[in-house]
Subunit: 268 residues, 2 copies
């Protein structure tokens, strides 16, 4: 079980797979190193022993739903989803007309962000989840191929956390203008990952307020798969895809399924 | 693969399981015979070879999501869902203020109902799906324990199909009154299965128009699982859970997973 937050476990994971072990991951980073590592892990020899539901949307079965679509030869031609409860909270707040800096401060105070809030606001975490879904579909992408729009300008990167938070009001007018423009068009701002035509991008988009993702509020996450069969409205999975409990439940379900798979091998 | 529509396959299915075969079902009826048959099929000896995703919501992964909740020891304390595209279409039509008889006639004309529309309107098909989810959770229920509200009175049961359709306008005033009452309370009518406290019931209910199920339109289906972890908003899965293509995709995904499981046994 790998619940760390580093890419350095990848070699140990591949070694464990070669030795016949089963693996359950909540740690996204080893799946975002070189494509060849990912490809090895999900090769026919290993894939039944390699489970990573909690890397995307915690225990909410985003990955399991995708695996079933792939098993039925109905691969998504596009995927759109929100993969950050923190950024969902932020978008909801902005949608209520609140100031960007004020909603970020609330998120920090409520413990919705990492201790370093730029880990969430930078969008890299969402980008990693998008990359994992893309690679699961067989798209040959590296992390550098994922376009990411951070929610703060690069000149705020090197500040201390208190100085960073103190500088945020300088961004309020810009996000407020984007919210008002979206509202005029019947839309709402959502921080989404979009996978389409072999490309992956992550950023703040204005979506139809009446669309499934537009209707999301608070820290809920959702993914919408469009396929040849689920074409008009997509296959939608929604849940509180963040937090310790939900993440642990996904790892536990993976472990139980693994015990069952590996148990069968031992029986035989 | 059992895509029949009869309970008579149950003995053959159990025999096949005993002989080590894998089974993928779209046929609900063998899962709704005596509880002991279901219990045998999902016993630890057989369950990895016994797959029935398409019996509930076609290929939309309602069953897979439930299995993962159970694997993580986070069983639902309640489930609510719509499991009939036909009755979803009917509820949407009534919600637009149209006459019950008129919407049923449209559904028949568009091929959304079985040739015998009472097979849909009677609610037994939805009741079967509710029973399968309940039994999957280990609830010890028989089909006779599922409370079902049919959408026509019993004195219309023995009429021919054309006479039945001709008699439906006599029900219009009643359904129109229920719709108007719901609307006054900010609610909409939905034909839902509800599983709670060990009981299963199926019928027309007035639900909050802003709830996930209340927002459903047309033939889409949805299930909402409430658990200890997914408590406030539930885990929601939504998709076009009806129709030949979606049903076939669920059976195919089950077959691929089976081939993989059984393939592993042969390898060893």
């Amino acid at each position: 079980v790998d619940c760390a937050a580093t890419s350095h476990t990848i070699d140990a994971l591949l070694l464990a797979l070669r030795r016949g072990a089963g693996i359950a991951l909540a740690n996204k980073q080893p799946l975002c190193t070189h494509l060849s590592s990912f490809t090895t892990a999900i090769s026919p020899l290993h894939r039944a022993r390699f489970r990573y539901e909690s890397t995307v949307g915690a225990g909410t079965p985003f990955v399991a739903a995708l695996h079933r679509l792939l098993a039925s030869n109905d691969p998504p031609h596009s995927i759109q989803g929100t993969f950050s409860g923190t950024l969902g909270f932020l978008c909801s707040g902005i949608g209520e007309g609140r100031r960007y800096s004020e909603v970020v401060a609330d998120a920090v105070r409520l413990g919705y962000t990492e201790p370093e809030p730029r880990d969430d606001l930078g969008g890299v975490d969402v980008g990693r989840k998008a990359l994992i879904l893309a690679r699961t579909m067989g798209w040959k992408l590296e992390m550098s191929d994922v376009e990411i729009e951070p929610l703060y300008p690069s000149h705020l990167s090197s500040l201390s956390v208190p100085d960073f938070l103190a500088a945020l009001p300088s961004l309020d007018a810009d996000y407020s203008a984007r919210h008002q423009q979206a509202q005029k068009e019947g839309k709402v701002l959502r921080y989404v990952a979009t996978l389409q035509d072999g490309h992956c991008n992550v950023g703040l988009k204005a979506l139809d307020a009446e669309s499934p993702i537009g209707r999301l509020t608070g820290t809920e996450n959702m993914v919408e798969y469009r396929t040849a069969i689920y074409k008009e409205k997509g296959l939608v999975v929604q849940g509180s895809g963040a937090g310790g409990e939900v993440t642990a439940s996904g790892v536990l379900a993976d472990m139980v399924e693994l015990a069952f798979t590996i148990g069968k091998e031992i029986e035989n």
